[in-house]
Amino acid sequence: MFEKILVANRGEIAVRVIRACKELGIGTVAVHSEADKNSLHSKLADEAFCIGPAQPEHSYLNVPQIISVAEVAGVDAIHPGYGFLAENPQFVEICESCNITFIGPPASVISQLGDKAAARQLVMNAGLPVLPGTENAVKNEQDALSVAKKVSYPVIVKASLGGGGRGMRVVRNSKELRQSLKTASNEARVSFGDTNVYLEKYVENARHVEFQILADKYKNVVHLGERDCSIQRRHQKLIEETPCSALSKRKRKEMGDVAVAIARAVDYENAGTVEFLLDQKGNYYFLEINTRIQVEHPVTEMVTGIDLIKEQIRLAAGESLDLKQGSVDMNGHAIEFRINAEDPKRNFLPQGGLVELFNPPGGPGVRVDSHIYSGYEVPSYYDSLLAKLIVWGRTREEAIMRSKRALGEFIIVGLATTIPFHLDILDNADFKRGHVFTEFVSQGILNNGAGGNGEQART
């Protein structure tokens, strides 16, 4: 088992990883930018190093600095969290060459699955369902147009090296497609260093359903059930829950088995998530695999009782998975709310600032994962996530009542947050019925809190 782990991240996930390390008796090393000098993760770690100025490329993405810290502090493993270097195969290789264990899949797996177009093709070739679209990346404009015509509009253009909701555009006709191909390609070049894009049929009113995978180094793979992440805004998740109300026991088993088959096909190791689109008819299609721990991992932890970060650490240390699919028990219902420093009244404008008072909720079935504390200055250089509120209930109804209670107790003074927005969603008739899909937010919840009789107001 590792003696010391460097957490190459910040914010709530760095706090989360440090907590797991402490519980395993492993020493912790934090890295922080100058803007994060007073961050909670630095205070909690056994050792903390400043690695650069605020900008991520000079600090949290600064590989030489991070490796230097790993060296001077004598760590034997690095946990990358999510985002930043978590899915950077070059970073993984550098760790490997410095004899530092990277807590995650091997570089080759990350690389292979990081090309979303190629991953899609791999799954397609394995005879598993994918959305109709291009075989791999778009070859040229003609290719794109003919595929779009074949699968019929609307279609979605996605960057091959994108993922995580970035670099995606929905187009509804050939004119929009021609235009979007150029801009999407350019954006992809700027964001991901690669101009390749691929096309998929865009399914409206679909659910985003993902399965959590754990795999050891000895080809044992299990899934820990699904998460429904359909409540999104601009492809960014806002609320995630498990179980998914649209899945029967049989469908869950079927999709879970497919997720495991996909993980096996790529020799997956450590934690990962297989994402599917579920349409209103109950058809599911592979979207992509996330080769990292995800923001919403706590909802799975709440219903299975399994600590995913500890599992990641154990699996990376070479332990074998002592879980068998049959013994994975899902109990109750969990919902996670991402509390962001964004103002719902001003189109979700993100804004940092001083948190004068932070008083999180408590009581049974309430968990808060956060790096915020009273008196903390939220920097504006990073993402706007302040806290994750995760609520568990024996049933979805209980979880909803408990969520309202917990959000009502949640005090954050000094910044505008998305708490009022979450309360509105909890009052929405469709949400209460479990009738959620990815356009839920854009189609009207913002303007029409009550929802009505299942008709979503179109903006």
Partner: protein, 144 residues
């Protein structure tokens, strides 16, 4: 670290093909390089160079003194090698472009240079200690 232990280690290095070995035990680090130089260094288990901090927190130094800070994470060395003399001592005059110390990271030695002429007033970090980005290394008084 006990003398007996160090003697054991020296023997180990002498009798083997090893050219250099570094052992860290209970807060002490010993480096043995062939050529029989033994350097015992106290390693700070908390990353930040503890000594520098109090001096600057009290700010009991003149306003015109300036600071040379670490531009990177690394291990601070006052001399180019174990047997050579240090780059600068307190009281030394330095010229713009003159090397004042080395920060070692990933086996690479990075020379840190003075940005202007001046006199070294305080050396804030112990030899062999690890430093972080932005950590204060030297206080100097700029030349007029």
């Amino acid at each position: 670290m006990e003398l007996e232990r160090i003697k054991e280690l020296i023997k180990l290095v002498e009798e083997s093909e090893i050219n250099e070995i570094t052992i860290e035990e209970n807060g002490t680090r010993v480096t043995i390089r062939k050529g029989l130089h033994v350097e015992q260094v106290k390693v700070d288990s908390r990353a930040v160079g503890a000594e520098g901090v109090t001096e600057l927190e009290d700010k009991n130094y003149p306003d015109n003194w300036k600071c040379i800070v670490a531009p990177m994470v690394g291990t601070f060395f006052r001399a180019p090698g174990p047997d050579t003399s240090v780059f600068v001592e307190e009281g030394d005059m330095v010229e713009e472009g003159q090397t004042v110390c080395i920060l070692e990271a990933m086996k690479l030695m990075n020379e840190i240079i003075a940005e202007e002429n001046g006199v070294v007033k305080r050396i804030l970090v112990d030899n062999g200690c690890s430093v972080e980005y932005g950590q204060e290394l030297f206080l100097y008084e700029p030349a007029k």
